[in-house]
Structure formats: C-alpha cells, structure tokens
Amino acid sequence: MSSFLLSLAIWIPILGALPVFAAGEHKPLVRWTALAVALAGFAVTLPLYFGFDPSQAGMQFVEQRPWIPRFNVEYFLGVDGISVLFILLNSFITVLVVIAGWEVIEEKLAQYMGAFLIMSGLMNGIFSALDAVLFYVFFEASLIPMYIIIGVWGGPNRVYAAFKFFLYTLLGSLLMLVALLWLFLESGGSFNLLEWHQLRIEMLPQMLLFLAFLVAFAVKVPMWPVHTWLPDAHVEAPTGGSVVLAAIMLKLGAYGFLRFSLPIAPDASHYFAPLMIALSLIAVIYIGFVALVQADMKKLIAYSSISHMGFVTLGFFLFNALGIEGALVQMISHGFVSGAMFLCVGVLYDRLHSRQIADYGGVVHTMPKFAGFLVLFAMANAGLPATSGFVGEFMVILGSVKVNFWIGLAAATTLILGAAYTLWMVKRVLFGPVANPQVAALEDINAREFLFLALLALCVLAMGVYPYPITEVMHASVDNLLKHVAVSKL
C-alpha cells in the first residue's frame, strides 16, 4: 500500500515556508500565507487519524523508496498507533503558534513564521521516519530552527540559553549516532528500524546501546539530572518557541525510548528499568519541590513540564499497557496543557513585559475571561479529572501500583505537589486585590487570543471527558511493543 500523506505532512510546511519568506516585508501576506500553510499541513494529517486502522499493530501509510542506495539508506516513512497522534498534535500546535505570533512578533515576521513551519515539517519527519539516517537527519535538523528562534526572537539572555540548548542536545545525540552506526554494521548494512527491531544482540552491546540512546533521549525529555537547559531555554524563548518546545520537542526524546531503546535493547531496558524509574520519580518529586519556589512563571511551568515528563518515562519502564498508554496519553495531554500554560504566560507578558509572579496579583479583576482559561489550564496541569491532565497521570499511577506499591506512592505525590505549585502561582497572579496600576490597566484577551485558548480548552476538556478515541488507536501497537519487549534477544 502506498500513500503520500506522510510526505505531505512533512513537506507542505517545509516548502510552504518558501512563499512565506518570499512575502518578506508584507506582513498581512506573511501572516495569512503562514496560516494557510499551517492549516493545510494540519488538514493532511486528519486522514491519518480517520483512515487509521486501530486493529493493526504494524506501520501504516508506509512510503518506502531508495534514497542513498550505496549505504542502503531509504526514504522510509510510516506511522503506528504510537506515533500517529503526535503528527496530528504537532500540526495542530503549529496552527496555534502561527495565530499566537500574529501581531506579537514585529521583527522579521516572515523568518519567524517560516522557522516554525520548517520545524513543524521536520518534527513530523521525526515521528514518521523508519530509516535511521532519515530519523537522525530530521532529529538534528529540528535543532536549527529552534536554535534560531531562541537566539533571534528570545529574551535578553538568549545567546546563553540558545547555546546551552544546542550544546546539550547536540552532545547527547552524538552518542546516538555512534549507536546507529554500530547497528548499521551489526545488521549487515541496514538502516531499517523495523529490521533492527528483530536483531539479536548480546547483553553488553545491548547495555551500551541503551546507554547511548539514553543520553540522547534523556537530554531531550529532559530527565533529571540533565534537565537544566530547559528552564533557561523556556525563559529566553519567545512564547511560540516555548509552546513548541514544551508541546512537541520534549516528546521527541520520549518517543525515541519507545522507537529505539525498548524494542532494540529489551534486555538492557529491563536491566536498567529500576534506574529509569528512580530517575523518573526524582523528576516527579524533586522537580515538583523546585517548581514550588520559582518566582518566574515560565520557569515554574518549565519545571512543571519536567515533572510531568517524569510521569512519561515512569510509565514506559513499568512494562505494562496501563503504564505505556498512560505515558502516551500524558505526552499528548501535556502538549495541550503546557502549550496552553505558556500561551497564557505569553498573553500576560505581551501586556506587562514581565514574567515575575510578584509583578502580578488580582488579574481576575481586569481580565476575567483570561482568568477563566488560566484556572482551567492550571487545573489540568494539576491533574484534575475531566481534564486531559488527569487521564495519563491516573493510568500511570494505576500501572505503578500494579508493579510496586511504593512506586505508586511516590508517583501519587504529584497530586499534592502539582496542585501546590500550580495553584499557588494562580493564586498569586490572579487573585487578591489588584496589585499595582499596571495590573489595573490590563485589557482582557482579544478575539485572537480567545480563539487559541478556546481551541486548547476544548481539546483539554474533550480528552478528559472522553479519552477512549485516543487510547483506542494505541492498543494494538502498544500490545505489540510489550510482546516484543517481553521476549529476550540474547
């Protein structure tokens, strides 16, 4: 079976960036072209969900043709129940980012929009590449637009943050490159991921492979203790950059665990599972405490992201369906919720040019509509049932208790910590008397801001009230993965 949908999802945004660049200084044209491209990019991903056959565990919408025949490198794309939703999420978030940057970005608008569109295409490439070289190219290429976005449109300390982001992630992925080359040789000259999944590998190389991938993916997730680049990157990035970083880029690392580490090195994965669970729980608890004392809203949400991603890696290494599916649900939910939280901070920042919690107070009196949205997203961030934030957390906690009560107990502390740091921030920003004349002069959200917040609110609520359609597409692929991981490759 052949299909062009995945290629379209990748190349429409990337090539669509060209007319955006061409529109140059004509701002309305830039905006509307970018929006049209983003919408077209999102539209082509919809058939991926509606045409997806949930009963099938294997890859769907496959495209496979030679690329560099000499090294047996292929242009090989396909999605399964694990990856398909992230392509939709990514393309959807891109639309929101375009809308969010509409009037806010004044300098180099065309380049800004273009960078996001290119990044969107590249990330779709990461989620659908089934050839290791193709994957690596997309994986590394996606760093460049983000580096530029932080470095050009970022805050005062943007150069430090951009370098830290770039070096951290680049150093991480170099070891992955070594691992990929080793696998190429070991498999007798193939970069085909699906073939790699079938390789028999000795324990020692499995462990080395696992560690090489771990470094690459742990930095991206980010896992404790290689997380410190994220708060810096978020603080300096423009709102759109933070949204994409939190909503999509962090998911790349987590996705890597499922696509590479677990199926290629299952024995090593089991061997290292206690370590991974421990690091994840440290992320949940340690970072939860750290988030509590942040004075900068973006830093707080960045730490909260790390804590939530701890739930994702925890779920993966429980090796049960509740854990892995819960982790996947958490990833999607976190895409909506963290994106929404960063957009909310952006709304405030655009007005007051401050991210310090102390500069706000009593915002509900001047921006009641905004306050309604922020409370909703904060509740989702705190994992309140009937929001998307609850579903994944709940599944992972259930999965943990099944494996070991104490893991469940440690994970469940997020109920208290998550609520504490999120709602304490909300209290200090929104409630109480109006804090200062700047807050008194705030204008409530306009129609454009209402639009993107309302879209995200709908997603958050819909996914919380009826998550069934989301988990339904995962079952076959996750079951397949679990079966695969349960069999030793020694």
Partner: protein, 671 residues
Amino acid sequence: MKLLYLIVPLAPLVGAILAGLFGRTLGRAGAHTVTILGVLISFIASLAVFFQVMRGETFNGDVYTWLESGGLKLSIGFLIDPLTALMMLVVTFVSLMVHIYTIGYMAHDEENWPADSRAGTNSYQRFFAYISLFTFSMLMLVMSNNFVQLFFGWEAVGLVSYLLIGFWSVRPSAVYANLKAFLVNRVGDFGFVLGIGLVAAYAGSLDYATVFAKAPELAAMTEQITGWPLVTAICIALFVGAMGKSAQFPLHVWLPDSMEGPTPISALIHAATMVTAGIFMVSRMSPLFELSDTALSLVIVVGAITTLFMALIAIVATDIKRVVAYSTLSQLGYMTMALGASAYSAAIFHLMTHAFFKAVLFLGAGSVIIALHHEQDMRKMGGLKKYMPITYATVLIGAIANAGLPPFAGFFSKDSIIEAVHLANVAGAGFAYFCALAAVFVGGLYSFRLVFFTFHGEERFRKDHHGEEGHDGHGHHGSHEPHESPKVVTVPLILLAIPAIASGWFIGPLLYGEWFGEAIVIDAAAHPGLAQMEEAYHGIFAMVAHGVTTLPFWLAVAGAALAWFLYIKRPDLPAVIKAKSGVLATILEKKYGFDEFNEWFFAGGARGIGRGLWRGGDQILIDGVAVNGSARLVGWFAGMVRLIQSGHIYQYAFSMIIGVFVLLTLWLNRA
C-alpha cells in the same frame, strides 16, 4: 428509564453552562431562572427515581466507556439503588432550597467587589453557575457505579468548592482559604487514589459490583510488596480520602476556613452535601470495610477525636459561621464513628437529618448576617428574636435538632449512633463511646449558646463600631433597624426546617427496615450492634420515651441549661470563666495550633526543601559543577595548551631539543 437517570445530573449541568458562559446575555434573572429550573427538574426526576426504587426498580449500567487500557475497562455509569436514591433526593432538595435562597443572599453582591472589578460585574450569574455545577458534580459522585466516576465527582466537587470558597477573590483570606482547602483535600486524594490503584491491581476492575463480588477473595490476599493485609490497606487508603473530603482529624483544618465563602455554599457544600461525600463513600464501600476490623478501628477513633475536640472549639468561637462550621465537624465525626461501628445506615441517616438541620442553621446564620450587613461576630448581635421571628424560629429548630433533643430529627439519628458505638466491638469503641457522650453535652452547650448569644439578651448590634465603619463600603451600618429577610430567604428556611423536625421519624424503615437492602453490607456475625438495636426498637414513640430516660438526653439538656445560665441568666460569667481558665481557653481559641503547625512545618518545609533542591541541586551541583564546570574545564585545558603554543620559534626549538634529549636518554638507558 435510563433517560430519567441522565436528566438528573444533566439538567443542572445545562443550567450551569448557560449561566456560566452566557451570564451577561441572560442577565441576573435569566441566570437564576435557568439554574433553578435545572435543579428543579433534577429534583423532580430524583423524586421519580426515589419512588421507582421504593418499588424495587434498581439499576446498574454503563452510559459510555471512558477508557480501556491494560484489560481495565473504565466507564461512566449509574448505580441506582436505595442508597443512591436517598442521596439524590437530599442533594437535589437542599440544592434547590439553596438556589432559591441565593436570590436573596446574593442580591447585592456587587457591594462585595471593588467598583472597577470586571469580575464583579457578573458575579451573581457566576455564583449560580457554580452552585449548579456543584449539584451536577455531586450527583455524578453519588450516582456512580464505579470508582473512577466516584473520583471524578470527588475531585469536581472539590474544584467547585475551591472556586466558591475563593468566590470573593479580592479578599486575601478567601483565596488563602481556598488554596488551603484544595491542598488539604489533595492530601486525602493522595490516599484515595492509592486505594483505587490497589483495587484495580488486585481486583482487576473498578466496577463496584465486580469488586464487591471479589471482596472475600481480596480479604484472603496480602499486598505483594509491602506484605500488608490487602483489604485493610485498601480501606485505610480509601478512608484517608474520606478524611480529606469529610474533614476528619487531622485533615479537618480546611473546613473552618472554608467559611470565607458566601453562606449559601457553606450550607450546601460545607455542611449538607460535599463534606458528607466521605461518609457516603465509606458506606458505599461497606462490603470492603466489613472485612477489616483494623480499618474500622481507625475509622471509629478518628471519628471520635473529631467529634469531641471540634465540638469544644465551637464553644469558644465567636464568628457565627465558624460556630456552625465546628458543629459540622463534630457532627461529621458522629457519622464517621457510626461507620466505624459498622452502623453504615445510621451514618447515612444522620447524614440526611444533618443535611436538613445544618442547612437551616447555616442559612439562618446567613439571614442574620445579611440583616446586620455582613456582620458575623456574635458579640455584635443579640436580641434579634423580635426583629427576625422566622429566622429565629428556624434556627431554634436547627439548634434543637443539632443538640439531639427529641422529637427533632437529630435525636433519632444521633441517639442511634451513640447506641451503635456503645454496642460496637472493634478496638477503640470504648474511647469512642466516651467521646460521643461528652460531645452530646458540649453539643447542647454550643447549640444553645449560638441561639441565646444571637437572638436573646442585649442588642449589642446597636453599639457603635466606628473602627470598622471607616472601611465599610455600604455606609448604612446601624442606620436601619434589623428586619426579617425577604421571602426568597425565609421560605427555603421554613421548607428545610420541616424535615429538620420530621425526617428523624423515618428511622424505622431506614435503619431497621429493608430500605437499604443489599446496598449496605454488614457482617452481622462479627458486628452485631445494629441487629441488637433492631431487636430493642419498638417504634419512634417508644424510642422517645426510652430516650428521655437515658444519659445522652440528660447530657444534652444539661448542656442547654448551662448555655441558658451562662448567656441569659449570668451573661457576665463567660468572660470570668475565660479569664480564669487561662491556657485552656487559649488552646481552644488557637484551635489546638494546627494551623500554625501546618503553616510552619508543611508549607514552610516544602518551600525550604524546594529552595534547597533548586539552589543546592540545580544551580550549584548540576549547573555550577557539572555543566559550567565542564565548560570551564574545557576552557582551562584550552588555556593551558594555548600557553605552550606561544608562536615563538625559539620556544618550540627549545622544547624539541629537550624532547630529543629525554627520548635519547630513555633509549640509551633501556638496558
């Protein structure tokens, strides 16, 4: 059939959405009309369901599958049995009364907001949206047929409680109280979620019927990792959840502060319905709790401590709402004791009678508060009887019921609990019986103290309070005589006062009849208390006749008499006693110091840990030593290498000669 069940929760939800999202368009009258209509429909449908259940038509079925994963099917569904039907009726009736009452209570809500607050312009509509949303959530909680939806409702009522305690978001005390309430409840939920996790892990299902069918199997198991008896672990974890929601010691600290919210929600959420969710939950889980005497012991002891020690604070509190709040805590303690004594039906029975008489007390207190222009301090009240006869009469009814005097509702339910605790055989029952009796005396005292302090004696509201008047926005303080509240306030009071008297008379069918049927499971062989009481029961008249000859009755009367002596006969005495009792009074006024301790230990401790980890871990160790340290290491190394590469030919030549010399020496001496 099924449609009827759907209507019950969805009608208030529709009202909430309309009033919440389109409040400005609907206007005030539109908002209260749609929400009251929604709750009215819900109440009528609940009545219909109640009569169906009386005829034996129960129901257990799913509405839709919420999620399926790892062999676990999680659904949204209804279990309509006698327990549910009774709860639905109580919730929708009290909610309806409170909705109507709110029209009067919130009529001038704009006065509570700063003039330029945009959130204040539609606060009236928003309040109605919230209380309707609460009604929806509470109904989902009680109608659930599984643990997941139970938890949904559980958290949703918590959310609405959070929104309503902090409703007047301009007040720092209110937004402090709502955060505190949410977080303390989250501590309870932490236990609750682990209990649910254990059920899911070992029973393989979260559907009530499936889990309860497996209860005997579970009783034989131990938790694999910890080695604990499984059912005991599950029950204790679930009970921690109940302690949060039903404000049991030591998680009671949020409830008194929740009085920062408008009075209608104190009546609806923090007295009649939400706080009883924990009681309801444990009753619902009776098939599990019956299998663990350890858990029941914990339940009865926690209930006993709450009952007595919270009642004591009610004696010294001077804020009228806080008195009622501490009284609520004490009454919740009674219900919890009943659960521990395996008298689940008695707990639910007291839950019902309490819902009525406590709603009366709160709404009556609210009526006084609006008559005195938002004055809540009883020291500035007194003598209101003649100005507010209807409020006085209804509050008096509520107080008598609260004190547990016959033939008012509270007598039947409280007396049954005391008797059940007396007959209970789990460890700690003796202590609980003592607390229960002592709290009866204290209950009589604080109930009548409230009545006498507020409605009798000197008219202290006439005294000038210049200090406060400066801050007061309304300006008409003391310029009018206090007068009876409007009909929207008094009619709900009267309608609630009727069941506050009469609902106790249904003790026969509820406690000793077949009403609860299979909804509540009691292991009569192990816990025979209720069965023994049933043998001794010969109708309500015999119960009253017997009741007046027993100790609890005379303790309550003694409490009431003491209140009369202290607040009518010798109103100068309380101050003297307080001065003489010294440290004891201070302990009570400080509420045993829980707030200070929690603020210092938990809030301060968490911030301290957070700062320590952030500064010490992230900034110094990871970024300082590891990240920037390795960057510096590279820099230092490069600097060293650079020193050697000076660019001077003679230096290079010199080092080459040295090198050749060293190599030659080594080569020649290699031996």
